[in-house]
């Protein structure tokens, strides 16, 4: 066992941490207030290699390991959970599927652009009536010679209004349930494909969540990802890594909320002393810090397994449930420790609390995660 980062992991962590604290943190409340996609920031992240951190160098990435990628997501989410999710979706479910399942031609065509940040990636599985239950997808893809014709719509698509390439799931065979699902790489300028309007959310402002519409959208056969009917297994293969990514995002939010609360109680005075002198306050902070520490090790344990190519379904779900529940708990208590000020936009903690909420919901609700964990209790 070794709980320390190796030299490369340390360097990447430091680089991303410095960038996040210097370049992202000052912009975070503005991104939240305007709900505008931080395009300039994403461009800078592309220049630094952050948009292609875990992508092999031969495809224009940095070639960092999965643990380094996860620590980047954590540090960026510490500064801004919105930027964190933009990066997580772009990488974990926007780029990895092409890397894992794409043909060499598809990899050459898309990955260097994604890794450099020239292209932004997105992932479109969820529909109005198919969230956790992917088998009930209604978007259809019908083969017509060298193209597929897609019809249907998707909702809650992160990076939706901004992405250049979307990993889209549609049914090619309505009778086969999960086995009738196929994945496609849909490019933004595809005829018949339309990006809907931005969806207004409680938190994660600026992450450009939107609907997608397919009206006889013609997608070339060359853009089918994997085989017909392989879509569901592609989606499932991405889940473990994606869940660890969201767990890291939640961990970043939780650490930011803990630090904000610790700083505030050191200076805020009531009854003639700093709040930190009150045992009731100390105990809240102790519990917050302990849960954050526990979440930290669950996240890096799962990331390490994932990075070594070992099975990690249970560990990824555990990290996701625990880190996201911790983020919600810690952010809520951070608001509480700020009192009335915590409820105002003057302090970041109210944003942390809004941002934390979705981490319990997306990338498989925490209820779904518990079902997954329960299925793996013998291992």
């Amino acid at each position: 066992m070794d709980f320390e980062r190796n030299e490369e992991q340390r360097q990447i962590h430091q680089m991303v941490r410095d960038f996040a604290r210097e370049q992202i943190l000052p912009l975070a409340s503005g991104i939240d207030a305007t709900d505008e996609f931080p395009g300039e920031l994403i461009r800078k992240m592309g220049e630094l290699g952050i948009m292609g951190l875990p992508i092999p160098e031969e495809y224009g990435g940095v070639g960092a390991d999965f643990v380094s990628y996860i620590s980047a997501l954590e540090e960026i989410s510490y500064a801004s959970a919105s930027v964190g999710v933009i990066l997580a979706v772009h990488t974990s479910v926007g780029t990895f599927p092409i890397l894992y399942f794409g043909t060499e031609e598809q990899k050459q065509r898309f990955i260097p652009k994604l890794a450099s940040g020239e292209y932004l990636g997105a992932f479109a599985l969820t529909e109005a009536n198919a969230g956790s239950d992917a088998a009930s997808l209604q978007t259809q893809a019908v083969r017509d010679k060298d193209t597929y014709i897609l019809n249907g719509s998707k909702v809650f698509i992160t990076n939706g209004t901004e992405a250049d390439v979307y990993c889209v799931f549609a049914k090619t065979n309505l009778e086969r349930g999960n086995r009738g699902i196929t994945a496609f790489l849909v490019e933004r300028d595809t005829p018949g494909f339309r990006v809907g309007k931005k969806q207004e959310k409680m938190g994660l402002h600026g992450s450009a969540t939107s609907e997608l519409w397919f009206e006889d959208a013609r997608v070339p056969l060359a853009n089918r990802l994997g085989e017909e009917g392989q879509g569901f297994s592609i989606a499932m293969r991405l889940l473990d890594g994606g869940r660890v990514g969201i767990a890291a995002q939640a961990l970043g939010i939780a650490k930011a909320a803990l630090d904000a609360a610790a700083n505030y109680v050191r200076v805020r005075k009531q009854f003639g002393q700093e709040l930190m002198q009150f045992q009731g306050v100390q105990f809240m902070l102790a519990d917050m810090a302990t849960k954050v520490e526990a979440a930290h090790w669950l996240v890096y344990h799962a990331a390490s397994l994932r990075g070594q190519g070992k099975p990690c379904t249970k560990e990824a779900s555990m990290a996701k449930v625990f880190a996201t529940d911790t983020a919600m708990h810690v952010a809520t208590d951070a608001v509480q420790l700020h009192g009335g000020y915590g409820y105002t936009k003057e302090f970041a903690v109210e944003r942390f609390m809004r941002d934390a909420k979705v981490t319990q919901i997306y990338e498989g609700t925490n209820q779904i995660q518990r079902i997954v964990i329960a299925r793996h209790l013998d291992s």
Binding site: M1, L258, V265, A286
Partner: protein, 380 residues
């Protein structure tokens, strides 16, 4: 980063697990029922080399690290928390301060027979009027020529009566409060040292818990551990590491209860299906397993920090709080999963729930741990 156990640690886990299943588990219910500390179990641990895991071979130890030790306590506690705490008190509370602060002579004389398991160790800090607040200690030690004369009493002493070696704290200078405390190594049978009342407890009933009484007890100055006035520091540093031993005990209790609940849920049929088919039970089991996994990582990390020479005070306070709260919650839920049977002594989960409770209290209550953690967080 690498969270996989290396071969040495896997081996000790397997060794202790087999031993625990074959030699410790079978008598656990009866020992609990009879409040019987079984020295034969301790001797068997000694034969396996478990009584001095982290001490160097020159002192009769196994020369392994704290992670190996923590894994052993976890595996023993998985089937019998009383056996787990006996080893934990022996190693972390009695062995550790002698190893860290003892003179060469003291180590040869006391640590070696303890590491070899010929002698059992105990730790006497708590008094009726001073638990978490050590400065309120009343036991005194007055220098008289080459001896100290101890008067006073200690309570809740794990392994007391069975132990031959006791690390005891007493005031050598009451005016200096915590800076007036000194540590001593006492032997069973020293004149004026007697064992008082044996406590009847809710749980860990197969570990012995007694009162120690000192009536003009003469202890040679050669048995003073560290300098005069250094006792409080020794006590606190000992507890820092000891906490992680308790975290390991709690982790083992939780793991044992979880496994029983999981297996029972698969067997038990109601409404025509096993109760494991009910989502309410699945979610309970998922939460239990997740917390145990988190507790394990916290506990192993604290042990790793100590083994590799890093500061571990904050980490062991966190592991202690989290693992013990997890043990209480998991054992309570395990009783719930067993339903009415869980409340019956025929099944081990009710014992595990009683055993879990103490882990939130001793070795620094969880409230004290939270004060410790808050200090670290706020001074960061």
């Amino acid at each position: 980063m690498d969270f996989l156990l290396d071969r040495e640690h896997e081996q000790i886990r397997q060794l202790v697990r087999d031993f625990a299943n074959n030699e410790v588990a079978p008598g656990a219910a009866q020992r609990d029922e009879e409040e019987h500390f079984d020295e034969a179990v301790f001797k068997k641990m000694a034969e396996l080399g478990l009584t001095g895991i982290p001490w160097p071979e020159e002192y009769g130890g196994a020369g392994m690290d704290y992670l190996a030790y923590v894994i052993a306590v976890e595996e023993l506690s998985r089937v019998c928390a009383s056996t787990g705490v006996a080893l934990s008190a022996h190693t972390s509370l009695a062995g550790w301060p002698i190893f860290k602060f003892g003179t060469e002579e003291q180590k040869q004389k006391y640590l070696t027979p303890m590491a070899e398991g010929r002698w059992i160790g105990a730790y006497g800090l708590t008094e009726p009027g001073s638990g978490s607040d050590a400065a309120g200690m009343r036991t005194t030690a007055v220098r008289d020529g080459d001896d100290y004369i101890l008067n006073g009493s200690k309570v809740f002493i794990t392994n007391g009566g069975a132990a031959q070696v006791y690390v005891v704290f007493a005031m050598t200078n009451p005016e200096q409060k915590t800076r007036g405390i000194s540590a001593f190594i006492l032997e069973q049978g020293m004149p004026g040292f007697s064992i008082g009342k044996k406590e009847k407890k809710m749980g860990i009933r197969a570990s012995t818990t007694v009162e120690l009484v000192f009536e003009d007890c003469r202890v040679p100055a050669a048995n003073r551990l560290g300098d005069e006035g250094f006792g409080f520091k020794i006590a606190m540093m000992t507890l820092d590491g000891g906490r992680n031993g308790i975290a390991a005990q709690a982790l083992g209790i939780a793991q044992g209860a979880f496994e029983l609940a999981r297996d029972y849920a698969k067997e038990r049929k109601q409404f025509g299906q096993s109760i494991a088919g009910q989502q309410a039970i699945q979610f309970k089991l998922a939460d239990m397993a997740t917390k145990i996994e988190a507790a394990r990582l916290l506990t192993y990390q604290a042990a790793w920090l100590e083994s590799t020479g890093h500061p571990y005070g904050q980490a062991s306070a966190m592991s202690k709080v989290f693992a013990s709260d997890t043990a209480m919650q998991v054992t309570t839920e395990a009783v719930q999963v067993f339903g009415g049977y869980g409340y019956i002594r025929d099944y081990p989960v009710e014992r595990m729930m009683r055993d879990a409770k103490i882990t939130q209290i001793y070795e620094g209550t969880n409230e004290i741990q939270r004060m410790v953690i808050a200090r670290y967080v706020l001074n960061d």
